[in-house]
């Protein structure tokens, strides 16, 4: 890589991306990135560029790609409106710790600050929602900026980085050579493991009677799945997952007790309230997990393991904070653990699972129901996919039902917008995921509302022949908001009802085979056709309009006050 080459800044960018191992770029051209696109034309064999139908689609696709593969997602947009269209995805990636490098064109440096055509202050706008950002105004800055961008995006707690690239720098010539970034004196992404803290944690775990592991996305990000399961098995510690942690542990693991928080499982929430020791790994005690913090886990001491020191004790007091990479910490913990069985403690899970089955699941699967329920649809999908598919969701009830009823055998198989809760995320993120892991089955599960926030990406799927399976759960409502209106706002359905187009006809117009199913008796066969389809397939499932997601911890309520029905 040290060999020098005389190139333009735009080409230096592409060479830098290649040096970082980039194979796919999601993007959209415009006046201030034409030089980059011009060079991209010559690199088509090495850099696979996916032209989305909206820059928001590009950034969400890059997120889906990153989340499915663990590699850095790359997206490219022009200045001004191109850059502003990326903003939602950058904010989403920041909250969900997704490694991204977002490259935006910018007006020539001589025009900066003059309100030139399509000038937007991208650096200022993305400052609070990016892990790092930098404006390149000289071609010679490109290799170092890209090297830093990748290093920062993927190390420590991953996150999005923005590189704003002025047009004059894109066409300026430079002697190119590339050096990856391995160290910055102001940034220390890998904390030293505090062995004393580990020793204390081991003692606490060995002394605990009702320990509980809370599994967050940090487990996936650090590749700690095996270490986690070994620790859990060594001391028979049940494991619950946050929304972002889903799929870190196979669902059929005997110590897996389900999901935590607002629409989590009864067992996971009840055991949080009964536990005497919570070991939180790579999760941040978001309000969606804790409900009312004052009544959260009243009997438990908390050990919190996080690579981001700012998360330790941020949302609630923690008895033992451990600033560490999850995998390193779990591997160290596991060594001191005394083996034990906890049949009584696991009894709570069995009892609560039976209660949930009886109170929540069985009624929603009742064969005499006139409509297909979302519960039944996701159940049927899980049966058909046998835990092998990557499920990418949108936001709302479709997301929560997917989180509750999907089954996973492999890590990184559940991709959803957790922290920001971005409607419109699902379809483009699923495209990116499918391009990242083409040999896996990828299914997008979307609501009728959220689908229409990114519906134009059907064009991207058509043009690039992306073999993505798409399910739209059509309840003719912005269902999750309607649920809140029903439960907490006196059933006043203010502007949450949707009049929808003929979705399969829309999909077919984009050349995607499509069908609609509304009869519960035909559901399984329709899902089977979706699973068996070679290439893209679209299935609209007409579901019960007023179904609610249960169990539910109302916002701000105690986990102990979880409700199972209206």
């Amino acid at each position: 890589m040290a060999r020098k080459q005389r190139v333009k800044g735009a080409e230096a960018l592409l060479l830098s991306l290649l040096a970082e191992g980039t194979d796919t770029i999601f993007g959209y051209p415009g006046g201030q990135v034409i030089p980059v696109y011009d060079h991209l034309y010559d690199y088509r064999d090495r850099l696979h560029h996916i032209l989305t139908r909206h820059e928001q689609g590009a950034v969400h696709a890059a997120q889906g790609y990153a989340r499915a593969t663990g590699r850095v997602g790359v997206c490219l947009a022009t200045s001004g409106p191109g850059a502003t269209n990326l903003v939602t995805g950058i904010a989403d990636a920041m909250l969900d710790s997704t490694p991204l490098v977002c490259i935006t064109g910018q007006v020539p440096s001589s025009l900066l600050g003059t309100d030139a055509f399509q000038e937007a202050d991208t650096i200022s706008m993305t400052m609070p929602i990016s892990k790092w950002n930098f404006q390149v105004t000289k071609a010679s800055e490109i290799p170092r900026a890209i090297a830093k961008a990748f290093y920062i995006a993927r190390s420590g707690r991953p996150g999005p980085v923005v590189i704003d690239f002025t047009k004059d720098a894109q066409v300026e010539e430079v002697d190119f050579s590339y050096q990856p970034c391995l160290y910055l004196r102001s940034y220390h992404p890998k904390p030293d493991l505090d062995t004393e803290a580990i020793t204390r944690a081991v003692e606490m775990i060995n002394a605990s009677e009702r320990p509980l592991l809370l599994v967050g996305q940090g487990v996936k990000l650090s590749g700690a799945e095996t270490a986690l399961i070994e620790l859990a098995e060594a001391a028979s510690i049940p494991m619950g997952e946050t929304l972002m942690g889903i799929s870190a542990v196979p669902n059929d693991h005997p110590l897996f007790i389900g999901n935590l928080g607002m629409h989590g499982n009864l067992a996971a929430n009840e055991m949080t309230q009964q536990s005497d020791l919570i070991i939180a790994v790579g999760m941040r005690f978001s309000d969606r997990v804790t409900g009312d913090v004052n009544t959260y886990a009243p009997k438990a001491e908390i050990i919190q393991i996080d690579i981001d020191a700012a998360e330790l004790g941020k949302n609630l007091p923690v008895a033992l904070p451990i600033h560490a990479d999850a995998r390193e910490a779990l591997e160290a913990l596991k060594r001191g653990i005394r083996h034990c069985e906890r049949p009584q403690w696991m009894e709570v899970a069995v009892r609560k699972q039976a209660e949930e089955q009886r109170e929540v699941i069985d009624p929603a699967l009742d064969p005499s129901l006139e409509h297909i329920t979302m519960c039944r649809a996701l159940h049927a999908l899980a049966e058909a996919e046998q835990g092998q598919a990557v499920i990418v969701t949108d936001v709302g009830q479709n997301q929560m039902f997917s989180a509750r009823y999907s089954r996973f055998k492999e890590t990184r198989s559940f991709i959803t917008s957790g922290g920001l809760g971005t409607m419109g995320f699902g379809l483009p993120a699923a495209m990116g995921a499918k391009l990242g892991v083409p040999d896996k089955e990828v299914v997008a599960v979307l609501g009728d509302g959220g689908f229409q926030m990114s519906i134009q990406e059907l064009g991207t799927i058509m043009q690039n022949k992306i073999g993505l399976k798409i399910i739209v759960l059509n309840n003719t409502y912005l269902g999750m908001v309607r649920q809140w209106q029903q439960l907490f706002w006196n059933r006043r359905y203010s502007f949450t009802e949707l009049e929808n187009p003929d979705f399969p006809a829309v999909a077919r117009a984009y050349g995607i085979p499509a069908e609609r199913v509304s009869d519960p008796n035909e559901l399984n066969a329709a899902i089977e056709r979706l699973v068996q389809a070679q290439g893209a397939y679209f299935l609209e499932i007409v579901v019960r309009p007023e179904e609610n997601v249960f169990p539910m911890v109302p916002a701000g309520a105690s986990l102990s006050n979880i409700i199972c029905k209206e």
Binding site: P128, R185, A310, L312
Partner: protein
């Protein structure tokens, strides 16, 4: 309990760091009382001194978030008692009033201030001291209706403990 906390940060001298730092205060709606940025004793490293009123819990969380800014090398926070803090203030008074009013000489002497410029239209008095001293002297001038203009620097600080190292070793040795 809300009180004044002084954050001292050492950062790379990079464009944008100031914005990133102040944005974290803004996000929590904490008003910055005073802010001083200057080159530290090491070339290429800036020193920020930021004072703001908030709670100990909030400042602790805020400082952890400040540490996450990529170009921030080191951040700590202190209360006033832990630091030797000084500010400089300049007071502008019309030369005519300055001469006519007998109190001016006394005020300058009593407050350990000094005159740094005299010209036909105004006199500039300089005072170094704590914010309280500077404020009290300003009030005295105002009571005498002398003050035309007044300006104060941000705080310059040193830690009281003899062993506190302002910058981490690894940076100093570079």
């Amino acid at each position: 309990m809300v009180k004044e906390y002084i954050v001292i940060a050492f950062t790379e001298n990079q464009i944008g760091v100031l914005n990133r730092i102040t944005a974290l205060y803004l996000r929590r709606k904490i008003n910055i009382e005073s802010l001083k940025v200057s080159e530290s004793s090491i070339k290429g490293i800036s020193m920020f001194v930021i004072s703001a009123f908030t709670s100990s819990e909030t400042i602790d969380k805020l400082v952890k978030q400040l540490r996450n800014i990529i170009d921030v090398i080191q951040v700590e926070y202190y209360t006033n008692e832990e630091l030797i803090t000084q500010e400089i203030a300049l007071y502008k008074i019309s030369t005519k009033l300055f001469r006519q009013n007998g109190a001016t000489d006394r005020i300058v002497r009593e407050w350990n201030a000094r005159i740094i410029e005299i010209n036909p239209s105004f006199v500039v008095v300089e005072k170094t001291g704590t914010r309280e001293e500077i404020e009290q002297m300003r009030q005295e001038f105002e009571r005498q209706q002398l003050l035309q203009e007044f300006t104060r620097s941000g705080t310059v600080v040193l830690h009281r403990e003899p062993w506190v190292q302002a910058l981490p070793n690894q940076i100093i040795s570079q």
